[in-house]
Amino acid sequence: MNKWESNRAWLLVLPVFVVVAFSAIIPLMTVVNYSVQDIFGPGNRVFVGTEWFREVLSDYRLQDALVRQLIFSGLVLLIEIPLGIAIALTLPARGWKVSLCLVLLALPLLIPWNVIGTVWIIFLRPDIGLLGVFLNSVLGIKFDHTAAPADAWVSVMMMEVWHWTPLVTLLAYAGLRAIPDAYYQAARIDGASAWAVFRYIQLPKLRGVLTIAILLRFMDSFLIYAEPFVLTGGGPGNSTTFLSIYLVKLAVGQFDLGPAAAFSIIYFLIVLVFCFIFYQALQNVATGDRQ
């Protein structure tokens, strides 16, 4: 009887196990499998051990892409998090304006990612684009994201900030609305300045949602592919070639499955490590006793 019961328990877990297997374990193991073999064709492969990992780690193009990626994600966090909080603080607290503002803010989040790239290509074109014409013809600033690396970076950053700051704003806004009125009333009675209210009430109370915002924005920006791929294609030169763009070139463009697989695993581990660090750091901010 006991034996039967425990068997049935396994059956109940089976669906989850199958789903996880197909969604995570099997693909990941396939990648691991590729990363330790040199594949010439179907049924024709050689075990190479850690050779691909060593090769990929010493690849200067990959190192460059990693540096670019870190700068990109760093800038994204530095701009979007403060900007998102600032916008959330200026939003109205009640009334019909709330719905209007939230809908307007959420619009960029509803657009498919490759469409966003296309929209910005047209927006930035020096001959017909709204911003492109304004910068080049009206202000007289020479701006071409397909020619100058700096312009390409500015373009990608603008697009990214426009696209994803609303997410940070929405999260921060939800967090702000969850702060009970009594905190603000107590602060008024204590004579706190607006800055003190932000520093000692709002920011600490936003810690939870900001943790989520930072993790999401870091992961998404670190894995960014579609928007810069459509907008700049990684160029000019390699100036906006981020890790995922380089990875796709390696795997699909050159069909180097071994190095691409090894690279994928390293990529995965980097994201994991960073997320762990951010999470730990944010969880421990101002929670320990002063020694």
Binding site: P180, A182, Y183, Q185, A186, R188, I189, D190, G191, A192, S193, A196, Y200, I201, P204, K205, A286, T287, G288, D289, R290
Partner: protein, 361 residues
């Protein structure tokens, strides 16, 4: 420390209040004497918190003036009024230590750091927080947090009054008495004006010298717990204070007495005469504690049917029917209760007469 006068105060949350019902506070005058411990008692939504916020300045009243020691403070912000308020749940600054929490109001007022230290240590000593000064405030128990919110009010010199908005609601029962005792001590030491909002009558009656009963945006009565118990000035006060509340029976006036359900009873001399000056409807009110239940006869009695008797430990609670109304009678433990028919004895000295809800004196 200050005497607080409310002159013709009224408040509505509507921009354009149309009738009386749009007012959360209906126009009234009130005086809180300097150094008094007041409890503000009333059901949820009766305007207690609104009144408190008007006193502290978090809310500007739609009409009327607020005076602290004859100084008009109606237009002043909460921090300029120099008032302290403790909220329903503890408001503390999570990221700060207990010391920084207590020092916060002083630092905001640019007090020199050595004076801040002296004040904080004095208040921490009083509130038994000295040992925790270096700790983060967020790790503390709820009652300690409430003591911190109180301390942030007390550190400021010459606080006009401390207002409490149901401060014990979120505190565990076994910690409540500790905090309440602390409140008493603070009051005895500093002789501050304390206004304490609650919907718990036991809390109000044990804490305060004077209890203010509110209902539907009005102050109905202010008095000592004993006055509220013995002479409720309004039927609501009688019914709200006490467990169960006062019994009320509709009556007509006949000569010097009243007729209840076809039976005449005596009233204290002169009362019926004075009642005729007021419009009806008339009701008599008697506390369950003062009623007596006999087998029959009796001096000033009404015939009743006994419906139910509950033994509640050191007393018995009898429910009797009189002309379709239920009347509660509190009887001593072991008192004999008639089985079905009995007579209800109304001592004239404890029988109050109400005209249109108001006590006739």
């Amino acid at each position: 420390m200050a005497r607080i006068d409310l002159k013709q105060i009224a408040h509505s949350y509507e921009a354009k209040p149309r009738g009386d019902e749009d007012y959360a506070l209906k126009r009234f005058d009130h005086v809180w004497q300097d150094g008094g411990a007041y409890a503000l008692l009333g059901p949820s939504g009766c305007g207690k918190t609104t009144l408190l916020n008007v006193i502290s300045g978090l809310l500007a009243p739609s009409q009327g003036r607020v005076l602290f020691d004859d100084r008009d403070v109606t237009e002043l912000t909460p921090e300029r009024r120099n008032i302290a308020q403790v909220f329903q749940f503890p408001v503390i600054y999570d990221t700060m230590t207990v010391y920084d929490n207590l020092a916060f109001p002083l630092r905001n007022r640019k007090m020199p750091e050595n004076e801040v230290r002296a004040r904080v240590h004095e208040v921490a000593e009083m509130l038994e927080l000295s040992a925790d000064l270096g700790r983060r405030a967020r790790g503390l128990a709820a009652d300690a947090k409430q003591r911190i919110s109180m301390g942030r009010g007390l550190v400021r010199q010459d606080v006009a009054a401390i207002l409490f908005d149901e401060p014990l609601t979120t505190i565990d029962p076994h910690l409540k008495w500790r905090l309440r005792r602390k409140l008493k001590q603070v009051h005895e030491r500093y002789r501050l004006t304390l206004v304490y909002v609650t919907h718990d009558q036991n809390e109000a009656l044990t804490f305060a010298d004077q209890v203010v009963v509110m209902n539907e945006g009005r102050v109905l009565q202010m008095g000592t717990p004993q006055e509220l118990f013995e002479k409720p000035s309004h039927t609501f006060v009688g019914y709200f204070i006490g467990s169960p509340g006062m019994n009320f029976l509709a009556c007509d006036l006949v000569g010097e007495g009243a007729r209840v359900a076809g039976h005449e009873i005596r009233l204290p001399p002169g009362i019926a005469e004075r009642a005729r000056a007021h419009a009806g409807p008339y009701e008599i009110g008697v506390r369950p504690e003062f009623l007596r239940l006999n087998r029959g006869g009796g001096d000033n009695a009404l015939p009743v049917t006994v419906v139910d008797v509950e033994n509640l430990g050191n007393f018995q609670m009898a429910a009797v029917r009189l002309d379709g109304r239920t009347v509660y009678v509190k009887l001593p433990e072991g008192a004999e209760v008639p089985a079905e028919q009995g007579s209800l004895d109304l001592p004239p000295e404890w029988t109050r007469l109400y005209a249109d809800g108001r006590l006739v004196e």
